[in-house]
Point group: C2
Chain length 353, copies 2
Amino acid sequence: MKDAPAPRRRPRQSDIAKLAGVSQTTVSIVINGRESDTIRIPPETRQHVLEVARSLGYVVDPVARSLAGGMNRLIGVYTFESLFPMDHHDFYYPFLVGIEAAAEELGYDMLMFTSATGSDGGRSIYRDGVNRLGLADGCVLLGKETNRDDIVRLRDEGFNFALIGRRDVPGPITYVTADYATATGEVVNHLVGLGHKRIAYLTAADPSEPSADRDAGFQAARSRHGLDTGGLVLSVRKEEGPSAEEVRRLLKAGATAFIAHESVVALRLLDLLGGMGVDVPGACSVAALSDPPDDVPGPELTCFRIPRREMGMRAVELLVQQLESEEEVEPQAVVLPCAFVAGQTSGPNRKES
Amino acid sequence: MKDAPAPRRRPRQSDIAKLAGVSQTTVSIVINGRESDTIRIPPETRQHVLEVARSLGYVVDPVARSLAGGMNRLIGVYTFESLFPMDHHDFYYPFLVGIEAAAEELGYDMLMFTSATGSDGGRSIYRDGVNRLGLADGCVLLGKETNRDDIVRLRDEGFNFALIGRRDVPGPITYVTADYATATGEVVNHLVGLGHKRIAYLTAADPSEPSADRDAGFQAARSRHGLDTGGLVLSVRKEEGPSAEEVRRLLKAGATAFIAHESVVALRLLDLLGGMGVDVPGACSVAALSDPPDDVPGPELTCFRIPRREMGMRAVELLVQQLESEEEVEPQAVVLPCAFVAGQTSGPNRKES
DNA sequence: ATTGACTGATAATGCGTATCACCATCATGA
DNA sequence: TCATGATGGTGATACGCATTATCAGTCAAT
C-alpha cells in the first residue's frame, strides 16, 4: 500500500556521462571548466554536456569534491566557555558577526563547536582525548578563560588556528588583538588635556592579558605626563563595582577624574556620583577602557571602542591565509586600533591644584 | 635550511590499522563502536585500537564519512537570507539561540552555511551547482524569503531537514511554527472583552504564511464575535507604517481599537495617535500580533510573544529524531502556542455605540 | 611511408570511511 | 574423524569526484 515515491537519487556525473555519451572524466572537466594544453574539449561537446547536466538538475556533491580535493572549506569556531548564558552571548556576538562575514566573503562555512561542553559544564578541546576541532580545516578560538595547555598542544599537533585576543603562551601563535595600551594612553591624554592631574584608576581585579595591556598603557601614560596616582588606584570586581565608600575616599584623595577598565564599572560609578550629588562632567570626569553595551541610556561615556567585528574578520582572514598557502606560514600577530570616543562624561578640571 | 616541520597529514584509519596490526575495517568498527552478532571484536583489541587512535590524535574525517553514508553529528543551519544586515540578525537571533541550545543538549555541532551567498547577495541552496548542505546530517532551514522550489527539491532528494515557519509547499514537510491564528483570536477576545466593537485591522501588505495565519485567526474571531469591520481593514507596509491620514480616517469610521500585524507598525501608530492628542489606552486601544524588540521604551504593548527560542529547539529536536530513527519518519508539523501579553496599550471602550 | 604534432578524448586510480560478505581457526560433540 | 558452531576478524567494494597518464585518430611535413 505504499506509494514508495522513488527516493530519487541525486544525479551524478556518471549519469550525465551515460546520457551524453562521454566519459565521467569529460563531465568532470566540463563542469569545472578546466582547460589546459593537455586537455581540450571542443565547445560543442561542452555545450552538450552542460545541457544534459542542466536537464538532470545536476549539482556537484561537495562532499565528494572535498574528499578528492583535500579541504572541506570549513572554519571551526570554538569558544572556551559555553555560548549560552545570555551575557556570554552579548560578549561573543560581535566577534561572531565578524567571523561570519569573513567566512561568507571567503566562501567558507562555519562550524560551531557547541557539543564540546562536558557533562560538568566545563569545556576542553581535548575532552575524552579526542579533538573534534579536526573536523574543520582550521579554527578560530575565542573566550575569556582560555586553556593555555590546549592551545600549545593544538599548535604542536600542527593544527591551524587563529586566536582572538592575545595570549601569553610559550612560543609563537597566530592571534588578533586590539591595541588596548595605546587606546588607554589616548584616554589619559584626553583627561590630562582637560587639565586633570589626579586621576583615579579602577583596574580589573582578576588578571588577564587585556587588563595587563591596559595597565601597561596606563603606566606609560602616567610617567609620560608625570602623574601622581598615589592612593588613587583601586582593584574592582566587575560584578560588584566600587562601593560608595571607596568612591568617597578617592574623591577625598583629590581625584578629579576616574578611569575604569570595565564600562559597567564606569556606569556604576556614574550612578554613585549622581547619588552623591557630584556633577559629571562638571565636577568630575569619568572614562572607561572598553565600550558600553549599545542600549545603555544616558550620556555617552568617554571611552574607546574595541573593534570586535574587525577582530573576528581578521582572525578568519589570517586563518584562511594559512590554510590556502602552499608553504608553511609563520604564526603572526595582528593588533588593531581602538577608536577613541570623547563622549560626554569628561570635561575640564575646575579644581585648581 | 628549512626545518620542514613535516606538514603532517591528518592520521587516517589505515595509519591506525598499520600501527595496531589490524585491518582498516576493524579500526572503523571500533571507532564507530559497532557491535552485532556477525561482527565481534574482543575488548582487548578494541582497547588497543582506541589507544593507538588516541596516540595519533585521530579524528574521523567528516567528509569521507559523509561520502560513505555515515553520520557526523552535525546539524546544518541554513538561512534563506544572509544573516548579515543587522536587522536580519535581530530577527534570527532568538531562533539561533534555541537551535544552539538544543544542538548542545543533544551532542551535535552546528554547521552554519554562510558560504551559500552569491555575489549578488542572493541565496540559493543550489547556487552555482553545489549543494553544500549534504555536509551536515540534516538541516534546519529558516528565513522569510523561503525558496519553495529548493525545499521541494531537497525533500525529493531524501535530505533530512526541518523548517522554522510553516510553508505552503506541495506535499508534507517537517516544520515548526507558532500558533498565530489562536493568538490573534486571543487578542481580539481581549479587546472585545474590553467592550470594543469596531476594531481596525492593519494587515501586512506583502503576503506570507504567518500573515495568512493571522488573517485567518482574525476572520474566525470576527465572525465568532459578530464584529463588523467594514471600512476598518488596511494593508500596511512594514517599512512605511500607516499614514496620519489613514489613521484619522479609521478613527472617523468609528474605530476604538487597532490591531496591527507588525509591532513596528503598532509602535508607529502609537506615535501618530500621540501626535493627534488621542489618549492610549484612554480613548483608543492598540495591539500588535507579534512582539516588539526588547529595548523599546514606553508602555508595554498589548501583543503576544512568538516563542522563537522554543521554535528553534523544537526544530532541532524533530530533526534529530528523524536522523536517529531507524525507519523512515513521516514529516510532522509542530505548532507552538504564543503567550498573550495584556500590556498597557489597551483599555475599556469608553465610547458607547 | 614514416615521423611528429596535435586533437579529443578515456581508463585507471586515489581520496578516507563504512559495510557486506566471507574466511580461517579452534573447541566441541557425535 | 568429521560436522558444527562460535570466535575474531579480513578483503573487496561503494560512495562521487578530480587527476594523471595514456591512447586512438588525423593531418602535415618529411
